[in-house]
Amino acid sequence: MDAAWSDLQALVGAENMRAATAEDAVDGVVPQMVIEPGGAEEVAGVLKIATGAGLAVIPRGGRTKMDWGNLLRNSERSGTLILSTSRLNRVVEHAWGDMTATVEAGCTFQRVQETLAQHGQRLALDPLWPEQATIGGILATNDTGPLRVRFGSLRDLIIGITLALPDGTLAKSGGKVVKNVAGYDLPKLATGSLGTLGIITQTIFRLHPVPRETRTLSFSTADGAAANALVLAIQDCNIVPTGVQIRAASSAMPEVDLRFEGTAPGCEAQIEQTLRICSGARRVEPPENVWNARSELWSGTESLIVCKFTLLPAELGTFLTSIRKLSEALQWSWRLVAQSVGVGYLRLDGGNSGNVVSALQNLREELESRGGSLVLLRCPLAIKSKIDVWGSAGDALPLMRNIKAQFDPEGVLNPGRFIGGI
């Protein structure tokens, strides 16, 4: 163990490692060490040493989502270290003529956007907490916002990746061109893998232009079914919004937000068409920061539960009804923000917590039975210790375990935190 620490020190320098403190705890577990390698080769080197010494490694970016995932299972490892990507923070290249950018994993999202904006471009993504969240962390957690209705999610934007593997290998996949089918698509495999296969050191993205104009419209609807019907009507006509979301809460009528981007005449014409389609709904003033409504679900620190749910777009209304019934029975209050593509975020708080686990499991079963999912993103540790936050991987779980065993045979990276205890 001591030998490993001195090897690590020789590799990254004493000034780039320190003993972990309570502030570095992950779900209450305080690791031994925090280490900040200075480049991709050093990340790979740290992993190799950690693997050899039997350590567990927790990758860390901007620390905004460290509580996502199951409880760490580090009993088989001789110690735990946090590998921070904070020093891998460069925008390596903005090839604006080709509409691509190469970015290191530890770069914050906001920094990337500011750099790209200098040439009128952007990464068409709206993740949580962009000032702190890093590209690597956003990818590892597959965090996407309302823009995905038009531009897809991370898997549709990432075109190249460099991964450091536990055995010290540095591997590239994909490339710098948008269209490329040479070899297996490891950028997609790494996206949403919670750092369990390798540590992302560098990424390449396709970019989109910053829109010339942006307009937002909001409508108040009578109930979940009406909100769902409105969203489906928008999908079924040929207007092209870049955001369609439902906001709903135990204490308020559901509201639907629509965003248009493009030329001024294009936006105006689409707004006119939308007003015709939504003639039955009451137009309301959109609240400030309406497209960040998702991040507000995390406000406050009490015994809060935030879940991500997925379902078919046409089932949003039924789901809203289920939530209302459930919360009434348990005397919870709730709020949710759902994208029309069938991905949403639900906040539950207050009330009697005795039946929480079984209530969440029932809700999850209902969603899973129709092809959806319920993932707990934030919850008290008492709940986390009783439930797999990810839910079921179905009959694909053995295959996922095979993949993990190939990339990380000794279980060095984030042991236990991913689906099915991977």
Binding site: G97, D98, M99, T100, N142, G152, L165, L170, A171, S173, G175, K176, V177, K179, N180, V181, A182, G183, Y184, D185, L186, K188, L189, T191, G192, S193, L197, P209, P211, L232, Q235, D236, N238, V240, T263, P265, G266, A269, T310, L311, L312, P313, A314, G342, V343, G371, S373, V375, A393, D395, A396, L397, P398, L399, M400, N402, I403, Q406, F418, I419
Partner: protein, 483 residues
């Protein structure tokens, strides 16, 4: 050596008359759209259900018989080329559209369904299936999944992988698994993301959940004639630089135009560089932007601009482009279709270098180019009756790919690596990159039964290496190695 009759009986018990063993019939399956590689399979099986595919794969697994899945056989990289001592599993008879779910914009299809039939089924409701490879009237969705097929409109709409949400797959060990879900963001690894584009090396898709897209309100196609591809390329940069994302931007050079004219009489102007720019979306948006595109083209030297607005006019404009590959037969006895990708801004450099290289080999190269996303389709023309020309054409086409890689691009944008380009993979990827990709193969198919020998120049063996060491038979034979 043919398969022994015991095994053939087992296959027959599964597929009955869907078993082909006659040499004359087997020849149909000896190659795909890339005809210069040919291998006669031991047998061809035509299953009609997932259960039959599973039963076949289980026999292959028990008897260690390699298998190659095949759709319509239109692939251009030898991906469906049979392997020695192996069988071909044709999915052509699994061609049912199983479900259309318009409210959720999903469809469930079997792998043998033809690409264009997907759109045809939902077109009356105003929806379409976006990936549109030029072979869309004959190629199958299963083949599209294997190759992650693109098409002219993927600049805006993405590739096959963008539109496949979930798959039912028979793994090489004979088990059936469900990858992804008809909802988005299924928790766990993105298995559809890794399966789509894996060229048949990870298993056989037997059901596919597709996402369909609402047809845009308006589609307009602008045709612009320039004196040179340089001018046309400058116009493409201008369009992208103005912050537009057209549905498609296609470029053809003079030789490609001549061929298209000789073949389908598309009525293209005889020019040095032709651009097709398609915009779609809300009417007000498209009308505003098509004017801007026209102005940019004029500024860059376009001397003729036409805008096709009706479906019929658009069909005429696209006819020449879609027929471009086949049209080469009208101006050359033989030709090689290449598929390289470059960062779009490298175009002038790559075109002038290609001109130099083609002059040096004494061969003509026609160019058809998905200009928006940098996907180049050079067509190397030659006469196979002249000794040495075919070899020189092959050499030139490989050199063009090297040039693409040197400029930061890729050896394939949509045709796949298959058999044809596996030896090129090390030009693009270092050894650790290729080894790491093959970890995925080891997770899905540790015995290398699914389309073995394709995509990668060397096979990584996957056996556990604990306990006393016994050389793998492939290793002993010197055809594979541990690394």
């Amino acid at each position: 050596m043919p398969l022994d009759s015991r095994i053939l009986d087992k296959f027959r018990a599964v597929v009955g008359r869907g078993l082909i063993t006659e040499d004359s019939q087997l020849h149909t399956y000896e190659c795909d759209g890339l005809t210069n590689f040919r291998v006669l399979p031991q047998a061809v099986l035509l299953p009609t259900s997932t259960e039959e595919v599973q039963a076949i794969v289980r026999i292959c697994q028990r008897e260690k018989i390699p298998f190659v899945a095949r759709g319509s056989g239109t692939g251009l990289s030898g991906g469906a080329l049979p392997v020695e001592k192996g069988i071909v599993i044709s999915l052509a008879r699994m061609n049912r559209i199983l479900e259309v779910d318009l409210p959720n914009a999903r469809m469930v299809v079997e792998p043998g369904v033809i690409n264009a039939d997907v759109t045809q089924r939902v077109a009356p409701h105003g929806y379409f299936y976006a990936p549109d490879p030029s072979s869309q009237s004959v190629c199958s969705i299963g083949g599209n999944v294997a190759e992650n097929s693109g098409g002219a409109h993927c600049l805006k709409y993405g590739f096959t992988t963008t539109h496949v949400l979930a798959l039912e797959v028979v793994l090489p060990d004979g088990s059936i698994v469900h990858l992804g879900s008809r909802t988005l963001d299924r928790p766990g690894y993105d298995l559809p993301g890794i399966f789509v584009g894996s060229e048949g090396t990870l298993g056989i898709a037997t059901k596919i959940v597709l996402r369909i897209v609402k047809k845009p309100a308006v589609i307009q196609t602008l045709l612009a004639a320039f004196n040179s591809t340089e001018e046309a390329g400058a116009a493409v940069s201008g369009i992208i630089g103005a912050g537009m994302l057209p549905a498609a931007i296609e470029m053809m050079d003079n030789l490609a135009i001549q061929a298209a004219e000789a073949s389908v009489h598309a009525g293209y102007p005889n020019c040095g560089g032709l651009l097709l720019v398609e915009l779609d979306g809300p009417a007000a948006e498209v009308e505003h932007l098509i004017d801007e595109v026209g102005k940019i083209c004029t500024q860059c030297g376009a001397w003729e601009i036409r805008v096709a607005q009706s479906e019929a006019e658009r069909a005429v404009v696209w006819k020449g482009r879609k027929a471009a590959f086949a049209a080469m037969g009208h101006i050359s006895p033989n030709y090689i279709v290449q598929d390289g990708v470059i960062p779009r801004t490298a175009l002038p450099k790559v075109l002038s270098e290609m001109e130099r290289m083609s002059a040096a080999q004494g061969l003509r190269v026609a160019n058809v180019f998905h200009a928006g996303d940098g996907n180049l389709h050079p067509l190397v023309l030659y006469d196979g009756r002249i000794p040495g020309q075919e070899e020189r054409a092959m050499e030139l086409s490989i050199d063009i790919l090297r040039l693409c890689v040197k400029c930061g691009g890729s050896i394939t944008g949509e045709h796949g690596v298959g058999e044809e380009k596996k030896s090129m993979m090390p030009e693009m990827f270092a050894e650790p990159d290729l080894e790491t990709m093959q970890l995925v193969r080891c997770a899905f198919d540790p015995e290398h039964l699914a389309n073995p020998g394709k995509v990668f120049p060397r096979t990584r063996l996957c056996a556990e290496r604990t306990g006393p060491y016994h050389p793998h038979p492939l290793e002993a034979a010197g055809v594979a190695q541990f690394f």
